[in-house]
């Protein structure tokens, strides 16, 4: 549970820095507004995309269905402990 929260906070802060803080640091120029819009939109879209995939995998309703051989290989490659 903690790991879930930590990852969530890290990524939100990461995209938040890019999308909310960085626009204030853009130097004055002809393209200042454009760059601000670009940064905000990019970070919003990318954060939302990441968030949807993260939340969907948090509480899966069903697990992966593996063929017998693939299951054996994974069991030996990745081990049985987390």
């Amino acid at each position: 549970m903690e790991k879930f929260a930590i990852t969530l906070i890290i990524f939100t802060v990461f995209w938040g820095l890019i999308g909310i803080v960085l626009p204030f640091l853009i130097p004055k120029g002809q393209n200042k507004r454009l760059i601000q819009v670009m940064l905000t939109l990019t970070s919003a879209c990318c954060w939302l995309f990441w968030l949807c995939f993260y939340l969907h995998q948090w509480k899966p309703l069903f697990g992966p269905q593996l063929k017998r051989d693939n299951a054996r290989i994974i069991r030996s490659l990745w081990g049985s402990e987390f």
Binding site: W50, L61, I74
Partner: protein, 861 residues
């Protein structure tokens, strides 16, 4: 943007226009639209320019024929003064004349040369014939060496000696391929009474008439009598054989031969000198050619522009009307002053006068090379109405993002990014290459778009965990296989346990999911799972709906911004509010439900998890069954809350349908009351003055009442022309039926559109699925075949398998899928996003700019 009137002195007009052309921020209007182009004032100058262009084109073809390089000018030459134009014309005329002379001379000399060459061969060969004939009459002891030819010649000679009739002969040259037909024709026509001897010329000769190199044969035809002579001559003409006179006397022949040789030598020298002269002339021209072309183009453009002006005879000046951005007026004034000074410092400088108008100005966006591509995408649908919000800065990011959601493969994204980076970094050198290839110019023009698409595709590929249909395991999967060998032996396939804690009462439970999701993107275990598609379908569809509704909501807020800008207070309450409430009640609620489902239901409650689609449908149908658990209510108060939302949403429909027309009716009535009041008060005042009073009474309302598309930022508060206010008077009386119909269409379009557009966003899911599956097919059916073989055979197979895999990847996945995703992302923006706020009824601002003019004309490489 403001409409300006320019009053130009006729002498200064040319240089002023030249300065404005260099500046490139003014769009001139045609003040003589009904005048035929042949009747305009400066038609002669335009004609002269076109004549000059024709000469320049001729010079260019000549230079290209000799394959000389043409130098591009580094700097931008100014438009020359009118006096210079005469000099240019004279120069071109001289060059044109000179070159034509050189060409005709060279042609004549060449023809002469070829004829002489043929004559030379002719003489050599016929010399051979007559030598043979003489040899036949050497002393008897040589007679043993005779062969059949000599027999014939001897007979000839004897016959001529005997009959004392001079045998006439004609010598000439004929193309080798026609020789046989020639001979046969001679035989038939002259009934075998002529004697032909031939010898082939070994080397290729250039035909004097046609100029092509052929193999030719020299022939001699002997005949007796005038009739035969005529016949032979006619046949020779028919076969286009060149006849050359050949003296009978060997002594004369030798003299002629020597004369021909000397003449040939002289001609060779003259020809080479002519060629050198031509090269020199062309080389000198090639250095200046491009500069001249640019200058002539500029002159022509200036005169075309001046043709659009109104020549006011009374005030002795030219009047021009143009659209110009308000912020650039200072620069325009400066340019005008420069132009007036340059043309000889006239006493009165040109005057710029701002005009007031009700016409819609052209739409001008300040762009750079990066934003130009995206603006083209938006403008392809429709140019923004004057002063409405430009969707381009938002499309700049959301378009590549939605493309990437559909493209979603990091490996393919890397390839696309590399291609785009190459185009962007090598911009300068690639700019003028392959200008004739339309496909390349399209790709090159969109290089920044492709770059952004590629970068976003890498990101979405990482989130989908898809690199050429393989997944990366960077952080360690959250899933482990904890089945024993006996379970695995019993079943062909096993499904891992999704709940991370023991929810069963039994001890059989084994934790296979760590409880923490894979940090970035999809867990790598799914790549091996049989039910991967079922799992990813769910998340991709949900994401597509979320991003779609978010984008549509964003579009609605942009329409709010538009309303605020144009000060359409009524539109905010009567259009924006019902729209946003409807969207929120149904679709924002859906998004909340999606997030709720993600966070509240886990594997232990999998069978009870609500199907959101069924719940949405039931919400609208007001049906609340408890039968399948996925349709049962899953939070307390759901039924009441949802009913409330639906009722609120339904209320929005008549709100939007009736609101605006009723407002219009009320406004019209108020206007009618006002004007009747002022009518009585003013008495016999003209209509115009009433309107003035009307306007000054209600400045704030005036803007709001006039039809939406008409309000613009021209300075209508200050002055009002008589005619313009008259127009406004008519605009108040707008057809009410039109308003009702328009509003009805808008309402239906919006409300039905909300639902259909939301579903339309599901194409994001569909195309990403297709892309992923195509990629996987290519892997399993092609590349895997080579990689799965062992040993040296496997190495060779891998080598051969790479070619079809890579070419299919590029052509099907990158090009075809890329084009498809591009198209669908574009459609989503044009229809689903922009229909919420964009009118797109403007026309573009096309300034009179030399730079634009010269860029447009394709430089023939």
């Amino acid at each position: 943007m403001t409409l300006c009137q320019l009053f130009l002195q006729p002498d200064a007009a040319y240089s002023c226009i030249s300065e404005l052309g260099e500046l490139g921020i003014v769009q001139f209007r045609d003040l003589n639209p009904n005048v035929n182009s042949f009747q305009r004032k400066y038609v002669n100058e335009v004609r002269r320019c076109e004549e000059m262009e024709r000469k320049l084109r001729f010079l260019e073809t000549e230079i290209k024929k000799d394959e000389l390089p043409i130098y591009d000018p580094e700097d931008n030459p100014d438009a020359p003064k009118p006096r210079e134009m005469i000099d240019l014309e004279a120069t071109f005329e001289k060059l044109d004349h000179e070159l034509k002379e050189i060409n005709t001379n060279a042609d004549a000399l060449l023809r002469n040369f070829n004829e002489l060459t043929e004559l030379k061969h002719n003489l050599t060969m016929t010399q051979g014939f007559f030598d043979d004939a003489e040899m036949a009459f050497t002393p008897a002891h040589n007679r043993n060496q005779r062969d059949s030819d000599d027999d014939q010649v001897q007979l000839l000679y004897e016959y001529s000696m005997i009959s004392h009739n001079k045998l006439g002969f004609i010598t000439g040259v004929v193309p080798r391929e026609r020789m046989v037909a020639f001979e046969r024709m001679l035989w038939r026509v002259c009934r075998g009474n002529v004697f032909l001897r031939q010898a082939e010329i070994p080397e290729l000769i250039e035909d004097p008439v046609s100029g092509e190199k052929l193999h030719k044969t020299v022939f001699v035809v002997f005949f007796q009598g005038e009739q035969l002579k005529n016949r032979v001559q006619k046949i020779c003409e028919g076969f286009r054989a060149n006849i050359y006179p050949c003296p009978e006397n060997p002594h004369e022949r030798r003299e002629l031969a020597m004369g021909v040789m000397t003449r040939l030598e002289d001609l060779t020298v003259v020809l080479s000198q002519t060629q050198d002269h031509r090269q020199r002339v062309l080389a000198a021209t090639s250095r200046n050619l491009r500069t001249w072309q640019i200058k002539v183009k500029k002159i022509k453009a200036i005169y075309h522009t001046m043709n659009m002006f109104n020549n006011d005879v009374a005030r002795k000046c030219l009047i021009a009307e143009c659209w110009a951005p308000v912020s650039e007026l200072d620069r325009i004034q400066l340019a005008l002053r420069k132009g007036s000074e340059a043309s000889g410092g006239g006493t009165v400088s040109s005057v710029l006068n701002r005009m007031v108008t009700r016409e819609q100005p052209p739409t001008h966006h300040k762009l750079n090379k990066f934003t130009q591509g995206f603006q083209n995408l938006v403008d392809a649908y429709g140019v923004a109405t004057y002063r409405e919000i430009n969707p381009m800065p938002f499309v700049l990011i959301t378009f590549p993002f939605l493309f990437a959601v559909m493209f979603g493969d990091a490996g393919h994204g890397i390839l696309v990014t590399i291609f785009a980076l190459w185009m962007v970094l090598k911009e300068r050198s690639l700019k003028d290459k392959w200008r004739n290839q339309e496909v390349w110019t399209i790709f090159f023009g969109g290089r920044y778009i492709i770059l952004l698409m590629g970068i976003f595709s890498i990101y979405t590929g990482i989130i989908y965990n898809d690199v050429f249909s393989k997944s990366l395991n960077i952080f360690g999967s959250s899933w482990r296989v904890r089945f024993g060998d006996d379970t695995l032996a019993k079943h062909d396939s096993v499904m891992l346990e999704p709940t991370p804690y023991n929810y069963t009462r039994s001890g059989d439970y084994r934790q296979m999911f760590s409880g923490t999701p894979y940090p970035i993107g999809l867990d790598p275990v799914w790549q091996l799972a049989d039910n991967k598609i079922t799992y990813t379908n769910s998340v991709k569809m949900k994401f597509a709906i979320i991003i779609g509704i978010t984008q549509m909501g964003f579009g609605l807020f942009l329409s709010l911004w538009n309303h605020l800008h144009f000060n359409h207070r009524h539109a905010i309450y009567l259009e924006f509010l019902p729209q946003i409430i409807f969207l929120a009640c149904i679709f924002f609620y859906l998004i909340i439900l999606i997030f709720y489902k993600w966070t509240s239901f886990d594997g232990s409650k999998a069978t009870d998890a609500p199907s959101l689609l069924i719940h949405l449908i039931n919400m609208i149908l007001f049906s609340y069954k408890t039968d399948p658990p996925s349709a049962a209510v899953f939070y307390t108060g759901q039924k009441q809350f949802q009913t409330f939302l639906i009722l609120l949403a339904v209320l929005c429909v008549p709100w939007m349908l009736l609101g605006k027309p009723i407002y219009r009716i009320v406004m019209n009535k108020r206007r009618a009351n006002y004007s009747t009041v002022t009518n009585h008060a003013a008495g016999n005042d003209s209509d115009v003055e009433e309107q003035h009073q009307d306007e000054f009474h209600d400045p704030a309302e005036k803007r709001g009442v006039v039809l939406d598309a008409d309000v613009r930022d021209t300075d209508t508060e200050d002055m009002l022309d008589d005619e313009h206010s008259h127009q406004q008077h008519h605009q108040h009386e707008v057809e009410m039926s039109e308003v009702w119909v328009e509003q009805g269409i808008h309402t239906i379009e919006y409300f039905l559109g909300c639902i259909s557009h939301t579903a339309s966003y599901l194409r994001l899911w569909a195309l990403s699925l297709a892309h992923a599956q195509l990629s996987e097919v290519l892997w399993h059916m092609i590349l895997h075949l080579g990689l799965s073989m062992n040993g040296y055979g496997g190495a060779i197979a891998s080598f051969f398998v790479f070619m079809p895999w890579s070419s299919l990847t590029v052509f099907i996945l990158l090009l075809m899928e890329g084009l498809s995703a591009f198209l669908h992302a574009l459609r989503l923006h044009w229809v689903e996003f922009q229909s919420k706020f964009y009118k797109g009824e403007g026309y573009p601002f096309v300034p009179f700019s030399f730079r634009l003019l010269l860029d447009e004309a394709p430089v023939e490489a």
